[in-house]
Amino acid sequence: MPLKSRHLLGLEGVPKEDIQLILDTATTFREVLERPIKKVPTLQGKTIVNLFYENSTRTRISFELAEKRLSADSINFAVSSSSVSKGESFKDTIRNIEAMKVDMVVVRHSAAGAPLFLTQICDANIINAGDGIHEHPTQALLDMYSIREKLRKLEGLKVCIVGDIAHSRVALSNIYGLMTMGAEISVCGPLTMIPRYIEDLGVKVIHDIDEAIQENDVLNVLRIQLERKAREYFPSIREYAKYFGITEERLEKNGKDILILHPGPINRGVELSSGVADGLNQIILQQVTNGVAIRMAVLYLLGTLK
């Protein structure tokens, strides 16, 4: 059964069967990654461009590795800043790349909607590797994969996304994907970091981290982007850590076995205490491996569409 769309721009509107298919396909590739020879010839002859308008070592490496494992030819195209300061317009860049006869484009861009714009001016399959504060579908898929791996299901689970929801592309993709799979979603963070009207998506808003720990099966803790303007949305790192940071004491106090995910890299002592971070090392590294498998699944499913 093929995917319904020839692009992966986000998880909004992606049907349950498609998410299921991606997760199941990733299971197969996950197993490939455990083999001594971790390469399959599936996408031999396909050319994939990783078009990164924003720095992202982790996501880019994960995609690149996934492409190599599938035997595709991949090219990295990194643009340090957006088209505005660069002189060449986004459209011209895309036209240039398309002229190189590529089959797929993996795009990371600081502006929301850039991947959709790409589908309008270019014939390749487009995969969104994060657009502005909009979506980051492969990250959400790997989060879902990791949760399913640990808890054996997604349906009926209560998942809370913790942190700067307003400036996160991971949050929105998680919300769409997990809700489609039947999970119950809440978000927790300072109200300055919760987008208005998010309840309209069917999401509960919590601003007490203890309540979030009490009520949920899974916490997906986002990285506080200390280097970005998100820093203006809370008074101090100390205050954030004190009221929203997850510490051993907090977990102990709530006496609960809870699955904690983090897309990395962790700010130790801010959103997670060092102790909690160390305890999580296992799953966070598993998330990284799962990320390769998920990206292989997405590339494979889109790359082999007729």
């Binding site: 088209s83 986004f90 600081s110 929301a112 909607g113 959709l116 714009f117 929105l172 208005r196």
Partner: protein, 430 residues
């Protein structure tokens, strides 16, 4: 030259004229007679049959951005005037956010001189502060002597309440309005209206209170000084409610709305089409409902296009990086007739008031006179022509509009002004 507009209906709400199926005889652009013409009068005149069409006082768009001086690649005074004529206007007022800004008598004169031979009358809105920087008030006395009809820092609000107070006090001496783009600077900078759509699209939001706060400030300062304030492109429910209250108190406050703010909501942004990016942004359906209501109850005085030409290269960018604004001179009348007249929100008389009479009253300009002996200043409407917007046929130099391919009912078929006629895509000297 004698011209007869045959079998036409004439409506002029201000002069209480409403007659059907008459002829108008124009001699060298002057109204010689309105009524039934005798055989002799028909002699050696060119007859244009306009059965079922309606003559109304020439339409006036009081919010137009011409890009001259500065960005002549996007629009010039002349292409803007051509676009206005093609859209059914006999007059426009242009905003001062050019490069350099219209903050000196020389620039006012430069623009007025440029269009002096054109059918379309051009009025100039000068900057309220030097360079539109919000620091020092512009030389208003000199500007108005050069012909400026209002003052505005459009593109942004006048920076501080202190400077606003001064501009209102100073402009009061000439009874000229301050036109305000209402947006609080500290809440500005987003790409679309804050709401569920901005959350779902991941676009930086502009909260509606950015507009509301400045509307509130402006009403208060206007009440205090007694100066005339005109709210440009009003777009939020709350702002409309405040203007309604201010009018009840008899304050010197007027307001305009753009066709896009009464015909589109922020749902239109869902495709990330940069032609849905404007400032103020498209608001929610609730705001649109309130705007329709306030057009009816008179809270909103006029309809203006906020015609804002941008080059294709600039608009073909990422949504967040694309400039704000759309062209609108050639779709305003069609949208007003389709969305307001045919949907029975406004009567034709009310539409004429909002696109012809009221903007001129706000700017202290004479209203076209339909008496015999007066110079003809007409817009001729066909209320029922069904047509499709085709940007390729637009007279504007820019093509940034979300209304391309939109089906509309009703348009202007001709305009007459300054002894010239624009009809069937041609300018004719009368």
């Amino acid at each position: 030259m004698k011209i007869i507009l045959k079998n036409i209906n004439v409506i002029h709400p201000e002069q209480k004229i409403n007659v059907k199926n008459v002829d108008i005889l124009l001699t060298d652009g002057i109204i010689s007679k309105i009524g039934k013409l005798s055989k002799e009068e028909l002699n050696d005149a060119e007859v244009i049959d306009l059965t079922d069409k309606i003559v109304v006082p020439g339409f006036f768009d009081m919010h137009v951005h011409l890009r001259e001086p500065g960005r002549e690649d996007e629009e010039t005074v002349i292409t803007g005037c051509n676009s206005a004529a093609n859209g059914g206007f006999t007059g426009i007022a242009c905003m001062p956010n050019t490069e350099p800004a219209i903050d000196s008598a020389e620039v006012v004169e430069f623009i007025r001189k440029h269009a002096s031979n054109h059918l379309v009358e051009i009025q100039v809105i000068a900057a309220a502060t030097l360079g539109r920087k919000g620091e020092v008030i512009s030389p208003m006395a000199e500007l108005q002597e050069a012909g400026a009809v209002a003052f505005s820092d459009d593109g942004a609000a006048i920076k501080t309440a202190g400077i606003l107070k001064r501009t209102l006090e100073y402009s009061k001496m000439f009874n000229l309005p301050i036109i305000e783009h209402c947006e609080d600077e500290s809440l500005a900078g987003g790409a679309m209206n804050e709401g569920i759509n901005s959350t779902m699209l991941g676009l930086p939001p502009i909260p509606s209170i950015a507009e509301d706060l400045i509307v509130m400030r402006d009403i208060i300062v206007s009440e205090y000084t007694g100066g005339k304030i005109h709210i440009a492109h009003i777009s939020t429910k709350k702002a409309v409610e405040m203007v309604r209250e201010a009018k009840k108190k008899g304050l010197n406050v007027t307001a305009e709305v753009t066709p896009h703010h009464f015909s589109l909501s922020d749902d239109a942004v869902k495709t990330y089409d940069t032609n849905t990016k404007m400032n103020p942004p498209l608001r929610t359906k609730k705001d649109v409902e309130e705007i329709l209501k306030s057009l009816k109850d008179g809270t909103i005085d006029c309809i203006a296009s906020d015609h804002a030409p941008h080059s294709l290269e600039e608009k073909e960018a990422e949504f967040e990086h694309a400039p704000n604004g759309i062209i609108g001179l050639e779709t305003l009348i069609g949208l007003a007739l389709t969305e307001l007249y045919h949907k029975k929100i406004l009567t034709l008389e009310e539409i004429i008031e909002k696109i012809s009479i009221n903007p001129r009253k706000i700017l202290n300009l004479p209203i076209p006179n339909f008496s015999e002996g007066a110079e003809a200043n007409f817009t001729i409407l066909d209320l029922n022509e069904i047509w499709t917007v085709d940007l390729n046929r637009s007279k504007s130099k820019s093509k940034n509009s979300p209304f391309d391919k939109r089906l509309l009912t009703g348009k202007a078929v001709a305009v007459i002004n300054k002894k010239r006629m624009f009809y069937q895509d041609k300018f004719i000297n009368l």
